[in-house]
Symmetry: none
Subunit: 196 residues, 4 copies
DNA sequence: AATGAATGAGGATTCATTCAT
DNA sequence: AATGAATGAATCCTCATTCAT
């Protein structure tokens, strides 16, 4: 039934919203249900438990995310453009939310939700680093980058990108001293460093 | 009584450990009490509530942390050495744990624990960025760094450092393909960038 | 429609099976529906509620049971042969299951299901005792039995028969030290007692 | 603490009362708590779960019951007197309640509560039959009883006794046509049978 | 007539907090 | 001051029942 898939989708979206707002333990299944305009029981028609719902929500996020950055990594463009696109992707609001990332991180590390979640999360991290590392290696190969430790550079890149994501989506949003942040400048900082 | 202060300290240390392991909502007051070798009721002699305990724990962490990096920032050494020390400080295990940082972030953003926590956390972030920014500005002034956007560079620096912290304390720890990460190399990546 | 009656019958049979296995409260309407190869909603086309289904199931069991032992009681044979047939009837597996009897007893005594069930059950018990008592009185009249308290003897007879039924259908079934139990011997014990 | 044991006892007594009245699934933990004049949460200080409470309650009943009939079986009196005492014991109201026996039987057979309960119950049954069988064998040895199948006789005896127990405690109690039932007469029926 | 997706009342269980000792 | 037994509010989850198709 077409309807079944769409209701599942609706629940996942509510879950995303509520889990992001409240974290796993504070979130109430009933609130997720309300948000999705379904009854409490309905959630259990589609998911085994609150934990399962969380896991499935994370899984759908992760799958989408990996898909997205993979697509960027596989484009037929130079390494710098790829990095540029990745930065751009992370600054787009709602597209990939850093706060949810923190929530997932916390629950995955605790693994009070299940070993599977931990694996999923670890997989995401290594995939993220791998892809970035590969892009950097491409850049090295094509002589655009110098012979740098690609793993380390990848870590730096991801860390920096996340920092901007959080800052923009959750911190800045509340304050008024709007700092203009643009992709070009971020990338420049990363590529050229500070040293004179 | 001297004893009173030390028991409070003991509870804060247990709280740190358990909250880091379990997050705010999963953590049980009883577990914190056990860890501190005190009775459950005793915790309420020293703290108003679980939320208060969390807040006080965060506060003591934050105060300590700001103290530490402030001390580094105020040393009479050049900007590069300061950054080096900051990186080194964050890689020292147990000294400042990235996972707890995530836990705090999540609870602070939700502010289900109280507006004060949010303020405390925001204060920490801006302080962290300010200090780093200031160090970078010092470097620019003394012509060691080029005329770069210091705010942006600070964000990148902090993001990268966190990424390494998490990777080392929580991810690597479990895997065996030990990647040697040393302060020198990290800083080099940051200072000189990738570009040829 | 002929079909309607047969579907009702199918549901009653499933109900019998599931209620016997799980008892009233543990049994799920959905399981009964599955067992009967009908939809969950269909059950409510034939029965008002789970309680009603239980009641109707018990009623159909009870009617059948009373019919059966009544037929035995009315045969044109001597009292001893009647008792023999009653024992034989209860030892036949699947014919009349002692465990369901316990389930019914429990629910009927609690009467959380309804006063009607209690009445039905009480009626069954008194009918059972009455019939047996009557057979024994026949035996006394025809000088085959002595002038014994027929009510008491009936109670003993029924109690003993139930005990064998349970033992055979639920306990023995699991163990291996098969004790041969045959109708002749049971009846002999009952008729002649232990005393030398 | 003396108090701790007595509160546990109080909860077990309430459990006995409520489980007997409602059966396992219908019984509410809250009702048991109310009956024992404790808070709902207190029950979980003494028992792991509703199932555990049921099991412990059954265990304490079973232990007491086996103790009681064992004591009777070991007295230094003749076989007939022992049987007489066993009948007397079962007719004493509140001393050993047949309805609870049914409840236990139903839950034990289903073993939805746990395999342990089943084992406990099976142990009770076999113990009950063993003891009775032994008494009968004593009687045979001392030439008071004839060379009868002792196992079968034991089954009959127990079945009859239970029947009386139920009849007296749960059925008769409600009706008015009081039938005088006394131990002597019951035993006479059992020992001498019906046959002339 | 038959279905099963949707519902929400109901109940087991957890755990922050209190308070008598 | 310190404790931990007791509590009940809060929340996950189940399942009888309804109703749109």
């Amino acid at each position: 039934m077409e309807n079944r898939r769409s209701k599942r989708e609706a629940i996942l979206n509510s879950a995303l919203k509520i889990f992001e707002r409240d974290g796993f333990y504070k979130a109430k299944v009933e609130d997720i249900a309300k948000e999705a305009n379904v009854g409490k029981g309905t959630i259990y028609e589609y998911f085994d438990s609150k934990k399962d719902l969380f896991y499935q929500m994370v899984k759908s996020m992760v799958d989408q995310y990996i898909d997205d950055i993979q697509r960027i990594a596989e484009e037929d463009i130079d390494a710098i453009s790829k990095l540029q696109n990745i930065v751009g992707f992370h600054l787009k609001p709602n597209k990939c939310d850093g706060n949810l990332g923190y929530v997932i991180h916390v629950e995955a590390i605790k693994s009070g939700i299940g070993e599977e979640l931990k694996l999923l999360y670890m997989g995401l991290r290594s995939r993220q680093i791998d892809l970035t590392e590969k892009i950097i290696l491409e850049g090295i190969e094509s002589k655009v980058f110098k012979e740098i430790n690609a793993y380390m550079a990848a870590m730096f890149f991801i860390g920096g990108v996340h920092q901007f994501n959080i800052e923009l989506n959750h911190i800045e949003r509340n304050s008024d001293n709007e700092k203009n942040i643009d992709v070009e400048e971020i990338l420049d900082t990363f590529l050229n460093g500070l040293a004179r």
